[in-house]
Structure formats: structure tokens, C-alpha cells
């Protein structure tokens, strides 16, 4: 009891020791940052501050009042650079970050730091948004990030992480960047409940970022969807991949991904929902594929993947491959194209389902035959092939297809 009292007193003294620096209209943020001592709080009142190249050099808390805007007017380099550990930045709005082709200018840039929190900030018209490099134990939460670049080359990434560990990215709303969320060499990252939409290239892009998890995110209408590469131990749950439609757009492109787990994800109206190349030992379960062009395009170098309890409904092609054998397992999925029966009423069809259509094999082998899409002749061929399979890979088979979709999640 006494110990607890003592502790509370100590904390109070600590708080008393720290000062609060207020920046009001007419003052500058740069002065406030320069004056700040370790543990201080910098309050920035509403108003537009026309500053850039700001540096936070000590452990402190920066709080922006609503309407506190730092406008860089496309000048200088990064707007705020964090050069200290244990910094919290909350509620600031940062505008018009300078575009540079030799330097990654960001609204907030963190280099080689620990325990940085950036939350409820807004970036408008950024080049890069929030940029972390060689940092650990940081949180990027509930920020609203907007950019309006039209070309991939003149926009940066909304949230850009390079060689970082233990980062939480939560509840951000990211639109109009090159890549919405970009990870390279990031380990133990957690990406929760973010919304990444209308980015020029990818909604989410990561490479060499092992042991990260992605939950409850939405990746909608991005130029090329989502691309993830060269990574082990990826956990993805309840993400939405929607309306990523175009010649080179993927719901998700899995390239050289191993030991991944994808559960309860939804793929709606993507031109290619999952394109897998060199994906091995991935478990895909409980996912929904609806109204996609291709639901799953699995190249021959995908090995040991399991697809179970998924729903394939209304896709133009359910599964396509360029290989005649498959080392992957499909079972207990629901296929809207399944035409079998269930005599013993256990909910599992009595005849196996071959999800690869003859025509989809043809398209993979002779690309120009794609021009026969929706032709009656092709439908007749497909029916004939389904009755007596001769060309389609015998091993691409769901031996226990469901008669009805698995009960949807609450």
C-alpha cells in the first residue's frame, strides 16, 4: 500500500517536472521543437503553420489540436523527422510534402528509433506518408492518409516500413498512393483493420517480411491489387480484397510465399483473386471467392497447398493452372459450378469435382483462344470434358465438394 502511494507520488513529480509548450498562431513549430526538453509536451493550436524540415530531437509528446495544420508547400524534404525514441505524435495534419526523385520525402519520417507512436494524424497530398526505417516497437494507428499522384513514379507509399520489427499498423485509412502499405524486411508486424483503396499500384505490398499478420483489412480498387513476395509465415485473417479489376490486377499475388495461413478472407470482383507462383505449404480455408474473373490461378510450381472449406461462387474461371499435375489439395469446398448429387444427404457431394475447365486449360496454353470466351462451342466442349475428362488434370480434384456453402461467419 505504501509502495503504491510512493509510486503515484513519484509519477506526479515526474509529470510536474515536464513542461508543456504551446504553439499558437503566429508562433512556429520549429521553435517549439527546438525548446522542448525530454518528456515535454508540445501542444499545437489550430491554425496553418507554413513550415517544413521539422526535427523532433528529444523524447516528447506532440499533440495537434483539431485544425492544426503544417503545410510544407512542396518545399524542403521530409516535413517532420523524428530523431529520438519514445515520441508520440497525435492529431496533426500535414499537407503538401515535396516530391523528390532522389530522396524519399515523407510527412513523418522515423529513422533508427524505438517506441514511436503516430496516431490520429492526417496527411494530405503527401509524397510518402509515414515512413519508418530500421525502427522497432512502433505504432501507426488511426491515421488518414491521402495522396493524389496520378503516376507511380511521382507518388510514394502511404505507410512505408523498411527493416523494422514489431510494428503495429492499425485502423489507418490510406488512399491514392503508389502502394498503400509497403513492407520490406519487416518482421513481426501486425496490420489490423486498415482500409487501403484506390492506390496507383498495390493496396498492400510486402517482401521479405516474415512472421507478420494481417487481420480485418480491406484492399479495394487498387491499380494492381495486392502483391506479396518472398516471405515465410504470413497470417491473414478476415481481409477483404475487392474490385481490383484490370489487365494486371490481382486480388492477391502470392509469389514465393511459404508456410502461410489465409483464413476467412473474401475476394469479390477481382480480375484474378489469387495468383499463386511458387507458393508452398499455404493453408487457405474458409475464404470466399465471388464474381471474380479467375478465382485461383495456380502455377505448376505451387506445392503442398491446401484449400478447404472455401466458397467458389460465380467466378468466370474457378481454378486454372499451366500444369497437368497438381501437388495441392482441395477438399470440402463449395463450388457453384458443381453438378454432382448427394444421395446419402451428408452435405458432401458423392462425385468428385474437377474445378479446372477444359477451356481454362486451353486459354493457359493457347492464349489467343481467349477470344472464344462465352462461345457456345466452348460450353459444349466443357460439358463434354466434364462428362469424360481427358485433357484436364485428373489430380486437380475436390473429392468431397460441399453441396451448400459452409455456414457464413456471424
Amino acid at each position: 500500500m505504501k509502495l503504491a502511494t510512493l509510486l503515484v507520488l513519484l509519477l506526479a513529480v515526474q509529470t510536474l517536472g515536464a513542461t508543456t509548450i504551446r504553439v499558437v498562431k503566429g508562433g512556429t513549430v520549429a521553435q517549439a521543437f527546438a525548446r522542448a526538453q525530454a518528456g515535454d509536451t508540445v501542444h499545437i493550436a489550430a491554425g496553418v503553420y507554413q513550415e517544413t524540415d521539422l526535427v523532433i530531437g528529444v523524447r516528447c509528446t506532440v499533440l495537434g489540436a483539431s485544425g492544426a495544420v503544417i503545410d510544407a508547400h512542396k518545399r524542403g524534404s521530409s516535413v517532420i523527422s523524428v530523431h529520438a525514441d519514445d515520441v508520440l505524435i497525435r492529431g496533426l495534419t500535414i499537407r503538401n510534402v515535396a516530391v523528390a526523385y532522389t530522396e524519399d520525402n515523407a510527412a513523418i519520417k522515423v529513422y533508427d528509433r524505438r517506441r514511436i507512436t503516430i496516431e490520429r494524424c492526417t496527411v494530405e497530398n503527401g509524397y510518402f506518408g509515414i515512413y519508418l526505417s530500421k525502427s522497432e516497437d512502433c505504432t501507426i494507428a488511426y491515421n488518414v492518409l491521402r495522396s493524389s499522384g496520378k503516376e507511380e513514379s511521382s507518388t510514394g507509399n502511404g505507410i512505408h516500413l523498411w527493416t523494422s520489427r514489431n510494428i503495429l499498423v492499425e485502423g489507418n485509412d490510406v488512399r491514392g498512393w503508389r502502394d498503400g502499405i509497403y513492407f520490406e524486411f519487416v518482421h513481426h508486424g501486425t496490420v489490423l483493420s486498415n482500409h487501403s483503396e484506390s492506390n496507383n499500384r498495390y493496396g498492400l505490398h510486402f517482401m521479405f517480411s516474415d512472421s507478420c499478420s494481417y487481420k480485418h483489412n480491406a484492399f479495394v480498387n487498387n491499380g494492381s491489387g495486392v502483391a506479396v513476395m518472398f516471405t515465410h509465415e504470413v497470417y491473414m485473417e478476415d481481409n477483404l480484397f475487392q474490385d481490383n479489376w484490370g489487365d494486371a490486377a490481382y486480388g492477391i499475388l502470392l509469389k514465393e510465399i511459404t508456410r502461410g495461413h489465409m483464413v476467412n478472407c473474401r475476394f469479390v470482383r477481382n480480375s484474378i483473386a489469387i495468383h499463386a507462383e511458387g507458393a508452398t505449404s499455404i493453408l487457405i480455408e474458409g475464404c470466399e471467392f465471388r464474381y471474380n474473373g479467375y478465382a485461383m490461378r495456380m502455377m505448376g510450381n505451387c506445392i503442398g497447398n491446401t484449400i478447404r472449406n472455401c466458397v467458389f461462387d460465380g467466378n468466370t474461371f474457378d481454378v486454372t493452372t499451366n500444369s497437368t499435375t497438381s501437388l495441392n489439395t482441395f477438399h470440402r469446398n463449395f463450388w457453384s459450378a458443381y453438378e454432382g448429387y448427394d444421395l446419402n444427404k451428408d452435405g458432401i457431394g458423392d462425385v468428385p469435382h474437377h474445378p479446372v475447365r477444359l477451356y481454362s486449360m486451353l486459354v493457359e496454353q493457347i492464349p489467343s483462344s481467349v477470344m472464344l470466351m462465352h462461345s457456345l462451342f466452348i460450353s459444349i466442349l466443357d460439358v463434354a470434358e466434364q462428362v469424360m475428362p481427358s485433357v484436364t488434370p485428373e489430380t486437380f480434384v475436390d473429392v468431397s465438394p460441399r453441396m451448400r456453402p459452409p455456414r457464413s461467419r456471424p
Binding site: 479489376w245 464474381y291 493457347i366 477470344m371 470466351m373 457456345l376 462451342f377 466452348i378 459444349i380
Partner: protein
């Protein structure tokens, strides 16, 4: 003169109730697809499949049948002092105009009711349907006039439909498989342009969302149809498919001893 003859022909068609049935069929079909399929893209694909099958089939069968059924009318009218070419023109326009109107209304009314009438894919579909109506009535008139026996000409019209709507794609596929090692894009374009049904299918597909699924080949086609040259070549093919059969049909009509 031709106006009066056309009036007779139109009245005749109106009495037969086929056109009304045709309108209601397309209204029901379009409305049904709009209501019961998930998403606009699916509706368009469903509608396109039916339009590409049924319009050529209907026009082939009905055109041939109509000529044979109008035999007494033709014989009677030809005893009058009228030019044969006017009679032929009136007969042809007399079926084509009602069927064009029927298709346009049958698809157009439900689409307009759902606010989709200005959608490029729907426009492409309706234009294609109209063009196919014109082309296949031209072909069916040729068959109906050249072959005097009713059963025989119906059979030939059916085989003609089978060729354009189904077998021709088999031919394209066969060529694609045989010459798979060669770049086939231009050859495929040539083959597609030569068949009005395929041409219609490709144009509708390329205007729809499904264009994104067609990859490189689709891009080549898009580029072709995006140029004035491509448009002129396709339009030229369709005009030829209408004008050549009509010209031969008219010649046969002029010469035939009724």
C-alpha cells in the same frame, strides 16, 4: 408504290403475332436476368449468350418460313403492274423493321427501367442484336428464295445457323490448336471479322468488364477495334454479309418463275 407494298407486308407481320411474342420474350428475359442474376456483368453475359444464339436462329428460321408462307401473296402481287424489286424490298423490310423494333424495345424497355440504357456494353449488345437481325434476315431470304422446297430450305437455314453460331468457333479453335506455335492474334482477328456472330460476341465482350480477362490477345483486339481501320473493316464485313446475300436473293427473286 414501295410504301404501299411495305404497308401490306407490315400488316401481314402484325397479324401473325410472332413479333409481339418476340417483344414479350425479350422483355421477360431481360427483366428476369436483371432480377435474378448477381451483378450487371452476369446479366450482360447471360443476355449476350441468348442474343447471339436466338437472334440468328430466329431470323434464319422466320425469314425462310415467312417467304414460303407468303408465296400466295407474292404470286398475287406479282400479277399487278409493280416492279419485282419493289416487291422484294417491301418483303424484306417488312420483316426486318418489325423485328428490329421488337428486339430494341424488348431489351431496351427493361434496361431503361433499370437505368442501364446508356451503359456501353448494353449499347454494344443492342447494336449487335440489330446488326445480326439484318444480316440473318438477308441470309435467310437468300436461302428461302433459292431453294423452292420449304422443308429443304428450312433445313439449309438451320445448318447455316449452326455453322455461324457454333461450328465456326470450332474451326477457329482447330486453327488455334494446329498453329499454336505461331502468333495467332492477327489470324484470329481475321477469322472473327469474317463471322458476324463472333464479331458481335467479341465487340460486346470487349466493352464489358470481361475485357480485363483477355490479357494480351484482348489488348490486340482492343487496339484493332479502337482504330478507324478496324471499325471500317468490321463494318465493311457486316455490310458485305448483308449486301451480298441480298443482291443474290434479289437476282433470284427477279428470275424465279413463280
Amino acid at each position: 408504290m414501295i410504301g404501299k407494298l411495305l404497308g401490306f407486308a407490315l400488316k401481314d407481320i402484325a397479324r401473325s403475332k410472332w413479333v409481339l411474342l418476340y417483344v414479350f420474350f425479350f422483355i421477360l428475359l431481360t427483366e428476369g436476368l436483371l432480377r435474378f442474376t448477381a451483378g450487371e456483368a452476369k446479366t450482360v453475359v447471360g443476355l449476350m449468350n441468348i442474343v447471339l444464339l436466338l437472334i440468328p436462329l430466329g431470323a434464319s428460321m422466320f425469314g425462310t418460313l415467312h417467304l414460303h408462307n407468303s408465296r400466295e401473296f407474292i404470286e398475287l402481287i406479282l400479277t399487278q403492274p409493280v416492279r419485282r424489286s419493289s416487291v422484294f424490298a417491301a418483303l424484306w423490310l417488312g420483316v426486318v423493321i418489325p423485328f428490329l423494333a421488337a428486339f430494341t424495345l424488348g431489351v431496351g424497355i427493361p434496361m431503361a427501367a433499370h437505368g442501364l440504357i446508356a451503359d456501353p456494353t448494353i449499347v454494344a449488345l443492342m447494336v449487335s442484336g440489330n446488326v445480326l437481325t439484318i444480316v440473318f434476315f438477308a441470309l435467310s431470304f437468300l436461302v428461302g428464295i433459292v431453294i423452292a422446297d420449304k422443308a429443304m430450305s428450312m433445313g439449309v437455314a438451320f445448318v447455316m445457323w449452326l455453322f455461324f453460331a457454333v461450328l465456326y468457333d470450332g474451326l477457329i479453335l482447330w486453327v488455334s490448336v494446329q498453329y499454336a506455335d505461331y502468333p495467332l492474334e492477327e489470324a484470329t482477328i481475321a477469322m472473327v471479322v469474317l463471322n458476324p456472330v463472333d464479331l458481335a460476341r467479341i465487340v460486346v465482350t470487349l466493352t464489358s468488364d470481361h475485357a480485363a480477362l483477355m490479357g494480351y490477345t484482348g489488348a490486340v483486339f482492343n487496339q484493332f477495334f479502337g482504330t478507324m481501320r478496324g471499325i471500317l473493316i468490321s463494318a465493311g464485313s457486316l455490310v458485305l454479309w448483308t449486301a451480298v446475300p441480298l443482291w443474290f436473293a434479289k437476282r433470284a427473286f427477279d428470275k424465279r418463275d413463280w
